[in-house]
């Protein structure tokens, strides 16, 4: 049996109200909010967060591979999946690949992962899909796109949700498009697009799967559909003979349209409430459409994702001004940094800075992040060995710095004592700086730090531990 062995949603902590966007242009608000990334987040960091949560629920906390799917990958040459795999400290033999350029890329990745597992080439491949799409300022779509990620692991042992059928249709239909020279998505949204693009493709893919699985619409407990807007999916469901109650809420009011992440994100949300035996159909549009029918096993009843969808949905730090929301999206692109690094230095430090492996003294047990040939406590040099450090800890002390360069000062910095040993110094994010205090439990997460020398520079930050 091949299927889903773990899943996780990653919704950024920030939101912007559509009213805020509309007020900036004196235009009509569509109501509700969009999920919005912080200035130090991008598709890679969101995907890494989802993948880390997913990984933490797998046996042995290890995976055989990491596939990254996005239309807004930060690197166009440098494997994003490879960097995420390094942050997850996956072994060198892990399969890594990027899937790109289509809102269906997440499903392509799921398909490839399924094929790899079925062929016995790997076990527990994490598929992480993320998007942080931008619409032209002041345009119609500016109130549409939200940022998010989700990760789904595919494996053949301890399967939570079996894959029953897969299939799709390819169609070079112009719906949303972005060239290499464009920062923003060009949208061909219209009634024509909705009917002949979205509905047409989705219907074909869904029917194909129902046929393959020999199921009727009424037998599907949850219909998980990506959607380009507030209601196209509801119209589609009705046309295909599904009831509104079967349709998974797309979170249009709370998150917006989340691109490549959307089908996996909504699937993760659906699976949190699915019961053993239920059939779930997930379908994604984009350059045609693809779908999968899944069946929940008994094992799903005992599974808990690391951070529940509803809990993440509720988290909300608001961008209260349009300017701040747009600045959070433009900041790192516009930053005039000059952090140039040599790849010799980078390679030498990867184990420490990226994989978060520190060292441990065999004599006194002291652990440290910095790789040092002698123990900071007992000074002995003959029993130092590499060790993976925990990614949770607590705040030992902190500072709230008004002057440190940031688009939105102040910057809360913390000295974090990691569980099991080791200490790291990093920014505290996703929380009000006034709430930082000694003893606060925190977890590490990857964020984008600076630009320069042809690179985006990533490093660890911490956020209050999610329960």
């Amino acid at each position: 049996m091949i299927g889903i062995t773990a899943f996780a949603a990653a919704i950024p902590a920030y939101r912007v109200a559509r009213d805020t966007i509309a007020a900036a242009w004196e235009s009509r608000s569509l109501g509700g909010r969009l999920a919005a990334h912080r200035f130090d987040e991008d598709s890679l960091t969101l995907a890494a967060s989802a993948a880390a949560d997913c990984l933490s629920t797998l046996p042995g906390k290890t995976a055989g591979g990491l596939y990254f799917a996005s239309t807004t990958a930060p690197f166009l040459e440098r494997l994003n999946a490879g960097l995420i795999a390094a942050f997850l400290d996956l072994p060198a033999g892990a399969r890594t690949a990027d899937f790109a350029n289509s809102l269906r890329a997440g499903l392509f990745a799921l398909g490839a992962a399924t094929d790899a597992v079925a062929a016995g080439r790997s076990e527990n491949i994490l598929v992480a899909a993320a998007d942080t799409r931008n619409a032209p300022a002041g345009g119609d779509e500016e109130q549409f796109y939200g940022d998010a990620a989700a990760a789904i692991a595919i494996g053949s042992a301890n399967v939570l949700v079996e894959i029953v059928s897969r299939g799709g249709v390819s169609d070079d239909f112009l719906e949303t498009v972005r060239r290499d020279r464009d920062d923003y998505v060009t949208s061909f949204a219209s009634k024509f697009t909705s009917e002949r693009g979205y509905a047409h493709g989705m219907a074909a893919a869904i029917r194909k799967n129902l046929q393959q699985a020999k199921l009727e619409p009424a037998q599907i407990s949850r219909l998980v559909l990506s959607s380009p807007d507030k209601g196209a999916h509801l119209a589609l469901a009705k046309k295909l003979g599904f009831q509104p109650a079967q349709v998974q809420d797309t979170a249009w009011d709370q998150l917006g349209v989340t691109g490549t992440a959307m089908p996996l994100l909504l699937l993760a949300a659906a699976l949190e409430n699915a019961e053993p035996g239920e059939y779930i159909l997930v379908a994604a549009h984009g350059d045609g459409a693809g779908a999968m029918i899944l069946r929940a096993t008994d094992a799903l009843a005992g599974y808990r994702p690391r951070a529940a969808f509803a809990q993440q949905l509720a988290s909300a730090i608001e961008f209260r001004s349009y300017t701040k929301w747009r600045k959070s999206r433009d900041y790192l692109r516009e930053q005039d940094d000059t952090l140039e690094v040599s790849n010799i230095w980078y390679a030498k430090e990867e184990t420490q800075n990226v994989r978060l492996r520190g060292v441990e003294c065999g004599h006194c047990g002291t652990r440290q992040l910095q790789h040092q040939l002698l123990c900071p406590k007992c000074r002995k040099t003959d029993a130092i060995k590499e060790v993976a450090l925990a990614r949770t800890g607590s705040v030992f002390t902190y500072a709230v710095d008004q002057l440190f360069p940031s688009p939105f000062p102040p910057t809360a910095m913390a000295v974090v004592d990691l569980d099991g040993g080791g200490r790291i110094y990093c920014e505290v994010v996703d929380c009000d700086p006034d709430k930082v205090q000694i003893g606060l439990p925190v977890e590490l997460t990857i964020r984008r730090l600076k630009e320069g020398g042809g690179l985006h520079h990533y490093y660890w930050k911490c956020r209050p531990k999610r329960s």
Partner: protein, 389 residues
């Protein structure tokens, strides 16, 4: 042979520029001014000086590198020059090295010159240099000390009001000092209401970035006697270095600065001081931030651990108190041109020991202590100077 440095080296001249926003003077100008003043005070010419020690942290674009900075500024040619850099302990460490050279007999008369131009930089505040771009990302001078302050205040239940009292005291002293960067008094309310820099530090909890230079002429005690100079001698010195990255070192508990404790222990031992609280007459300590002065008084043995707030609240560290701390106004109002500060402290201590401090004069000035702490918190240098008669 007696290995202690006590009474082997004398300070026979000191000089100091005005400290402040010296926009019209460059580094070389400040060095000439300070060195000339020290030589005049000593009654010697620069050509009688055998060797020079330069303490400067970051000369910047015009300042040059290494010892050429001093050779060019003073046209001090054909003789040894050593450049010393040790974070905020640069000035005291330059002095310390010169003292050892004189005590060894290798150098007859030495110039110690501390100089810094911080205002010519394009960025606000003190720049962090030579740091790891990821592991040390987010470190600033105020932020680093704030980490320690927050842990301390949380442990001992100390409030911002206690810190503010240090600012009030040191600004009051600075107002009596024409060379100080700031000569204005501040009230506790002003300090508490000022804009935050890095909690718990507001604007008036932080020393300013300052330009300035100070110099000293030193020679052996025998030479000083032969020149008929009143004897102000080095009684003891110490230097200690600890980790520069306590935020990554799991063995650091952020309570007190061991470097200060160790450096001062070395200095007290050399000077034969057993109880600094009663045997040190006054001290110039490193109040880069108001909180730092609290912990300095504990680390230097003026009061017990955790009692730093009470020490300042009870008035013991005012000019008229039992152990005046920073009668010059301290880094807080005198300013902190990094490389110059330690030598400026020597200038103040010598002035006090000569009873020439006017309205800032401490009573019965016999032994003065200079303390620097930098790195942040990693390096400490302590000097003890005294007058026996």
């Amino acid at each position: 042979m007696d290995a202690s440095i006590r009474d082997k080296v004398a300070v026979i001249g000191v000089g100091c520029t005005k400290f402040g926003d010296l926009f019209d003077q460059n580094l070389a100008d400040l060095m000439v001014e300070a060195a000339t003043a020290a030589c005049a005070d000593a009654g010697v010419g620069l050509d009688e000086v055998d060797a020079a020690w330069l303490g400067t942290f970051s000369p910047g674009m015009n300042g040059g590198k290494a010892t050429i900075t001093l050779a060019d500024a003073l046209r001090f040619h054909g003789r040894p020059i050593t450049r010393v850099e040790n974070y905020c302990a640069t000035g005291t460490d330059a002095f310390r090295n010169a003292v050892m050279a004189v005590a060894s007999g290798q150098v007859k008369m030495a110039l110690v010159l501390g100089a810094e131009k911080l205002k010519d930089r394009p960025v606000r505040g003190l720049q962090r240099e030579g740091i790891h771009p990821l592991l040390e990302y987010g470190t600033t001078a105020p932020g680093m000390f704030a980490l320690a302050a927050n842990r301390y205040m949380n442990t001992y239940g100390v409030k911002r009001e206690s810190l503010a009292k240090v600012a009030v005291k040191n600004h009051a002293a600075g107002a009596l000092n024409p060379k100080a960067h700031f000569q204005m008094k501040v009230t506790e309310e002003q300090v508490l209401k000022a804009a935050l820099i890095a909690y718990p530090f507001g604007l008036f909890d932080c020393c300013p970035t300052t330009d300035g230079a100070a110099a000293a002429i030193i020679c052996s005690t025998e030479t000083a006697r032969a020149l008929g100079k009143p004897l102000i001698t080095v009684k003891g010195m110490g230097l200690a270095v600890r980790t520069g990255k306590p935020f990554l070192d799991p063995t650091c508990d952020y309570m007190g600065f061991p470097a200060t404790q160790e450096a001062s222990a070395q200095a007290y031992k050399a000077a034969g001081i057993k109880n600094p609280a009663t045997e040190v007459s006054f001290a110039e300590v490193h109040d880069c931030f108001t909180w730092t002065e609290l912990t300095n008084t504990e680390d230097l043995g003026f009061c017990k651990a955790g009692e730093g707030a009470r020490f300042v609240e009870e008035g013991h560290s005012t000019i008229g108190g039992k152990l005046p701390v920073n009668p010059s106004g301290g880094l807080k109002s005198f300013g902190h041109p990094v490389g110059a500060t330690g030598v400026r402290m020597v200038y103040e201590i010598v002035t006090q020991l000569r009873e020439q401090a006017g309205p800032r004069q401490v009573k019965n000035a016999r032994i003065g202590l200079a303390h620097n702490l930098g790195g942040p918190g990693a390096v400490s240098c302590v000097l003890l100077l005294g007058r026996d008669t």
